[in-house]
Amino acid sequence: MSPRGLNPTLVAGLAILGVVIGAALFAGLLAPYDPNAIAPAQILQPPSLRHVAGTDELGRDMFSRILYGARPSLLVAVAIVAIAATGGVIIGCASGLAGGLADTLVMRLVEIVMALPGLVIALALAAALGPSLVNLALALGVLGIPFYARVARAQTLSLRERAFVRAARAMGASRWFILRRHIVPNLAPTIVVFMSLGLSGALLGASALSFIGLGAQPPMAEWGALVNASRSYILDDWWYALFPGAAVALTSFGFTLLGDGLRDALDPKAGR
């Protein structure tokens, strides 16, 4: 095996994500056209040297739209995971440190929410809040909280009994100090692995809701919305759906590799 921290899975994941994040950051420099520029003479052109990913029904350059589309697509995935992880870690640590009845109640609640089909509830919630990327991120993010809460609580419970935490407590350290200095830093690797694996699901979930029409609204070039717009043209204009969908698949694959790679690197016992 290669040296720890540099396994091939992790490297492949980082390489893919490097390209995607680069596209998002430098879309303004890389895109050959304005992503929203309508060109009536260039409607539904197949890929060519002028338009490497073809054009859509308004003559907009698909390559430029996909590059710009990386921004909302990645942002929403990151926002969902950030909401879920932040909420989950706060609830999980608090519950684990508090113990007793509060802990039991919180964990029962977590168990109940985890027993529900989250994406179906998110669908209803996003529909009720009205179609927008912000509402979509909120709906998916909140429903992700229990997963992180459970992990954070389990880790907190085991860390709480470790010698260095007991020593800190014996020396009179406050709960807040213990949480900040001992629990959260030791919790971080596990949560980071969970987050990177969660990013793939968040991207797929968000782009699927966008595809249904619950997320990004026109003319925003979010990837799921791009595939949605291509639906009437699938048989005659194959490139229209192909490239934005491939961008979702590639990015999601990159997140999965990153998560698997990080897990193997941080915890050699898992996997393999």
Binding site: A127, A241, A249
Partner: protein
């Protein structure tokens, strides 16, 4: 064991109540004032207050929830704003189409995923294992809303061997179960059976492909664990053939957790079917709810969430109980 079953049933009741609380709260989050709709746009404050009172909107939230719960328990999920018909019967009418799709996909997914997972476990670390693992990582990453159109493009557009949308082109058989594969056979209509099967092919393949990777991953992990057990070594040491060891000893124990995968797959498919049905114009609950979202037909959207959540929770209870029957260790521990 009785205690375990009772505990699970108790949990089921709590979760179902939680679902009703959630759908009730989501309904409160919907923008717009129902009283305004009833009273009309020109209503003055007094008329508005009267409408609020008639609709019961002036009562405290817990009272309104109790009212809602009472109606739900009697099977009253409200009426569709678009058609005026009861939501529950609208959903029930379309359920067979969705179930036929999901069950078929589940069968295909398991039939593909289990052998792949076993093969990967047996060739652990060598190229077939690597290939299967890479393949499953890939299928897990592919979005359903992309795979579906691509398969339509290939099998319907380019090759022209399969239909690209709908459930049936021929005349439908007299409805008995609502499952076209069964109804056509009952009617003795072989041509319609073939037609229904052909219409199922691409949507089922799409759903199943998305699931195969996840199933293969789990089966691989379980099989590797089982293959390391003492009784497998003992079986091999007694001189049994490798085929007997795998089929008689390892597979039986390695596949028990598959029941759990089925529970997870169903959750995945509930959601996948919403996307897949809307792509393939499949006349089930999934495409119906997408239409409802656009028509702002909230009773239908919330009814769908409620019904699918309850169905999901009940299926998972069934999964747990099946697991209990299959695995004596859990049965004893109770």
């Amino acid at each position: 064991m009785a205690a375990f079953v009772l505990r699970r049933l108790g949990f089921l009741v709590v979760v179902v109540l939680a679902v009703t609380v959630i759908t009730f709260l989501i309904a409160q989050a919907i923008p717009g004032d129902p009283a305004r709709v009833v009273a009309g746009p020109r209503a003055d404050a007094q008329q508005l207050a009267k409408a609020r009172h008639q609709l019961g909107l002036d009562r405290p939230l817990p009272v309104r929830y109790a009212d809602y719960l009472g109606r739900v328990l009697h099977g009253d999920l409200g009426a569709s704003i678009v058609t005026g018909r009861p939501v529950l019967s609208e959903l029930a009418a379309r359920a067979p189409a969705t179930l036929e799709l999901m069950i078929s996909a589940l069968i295909v997914g398991v039939a593909g995923g289990v052998p792949l997972g076993v093969a990967a476990a047996l060739t652990r670390g060598r190229w077939p294992d690597r290939l299967i693992r890479a393949g499953s990582a890939l299928t897990i990453s592919v979005p359903a809303f992309w795979l579906g159109p691509l398969l339509i493009l290939v099998f319907y557009g380019a090759l022209q061997v399969l239909p690209g949308s709908g459930r049936l082109d021929l005349d439908p058989p007299p409805p008995v179960t609502g499952f076209l594969l069964i109804d056509t056979l009952l009617a003795g209509d072989v041509a319609a059976f073939g037609d229904a099967l052909a219409h199922l092919a691409i949507p089922v393949l799409t759903l199943a492909l998305l699931d195969v990777g996840a199933i293969a991953r789990l089966v691989r992990g379980q099989m590797i664990e089982v293959l390391g057990e003492d009784y497998i070594r003992t079986a091999r040491a007694t001189g049994l053939s490798e085929a007997t060891v795998i089929l008689r000893y390892a597979l039986r124990n390695g596949l028990t957790p598959l029941v759990t995968v089925l529970g997870l797959s169903i959750a995945q498919m509930l959601y996948g079917s919403v996307v897949i049905e809307s792509i393939f114009a499949w006349p089930g609950d999934g495409s119906y709810v997408v239409g409802a979202i656009f028509n702002l037909d909230f009773p239908v959207v919330l009814g769908f969430a409620l019904v699918t959540s309850v169905a999901y929770v009940v299926v998972n209870l069934g999964v747990d109980l099946t697991y209990l029957l299959l695995d004596p260790r859990i049965r004893e521990a109770g």
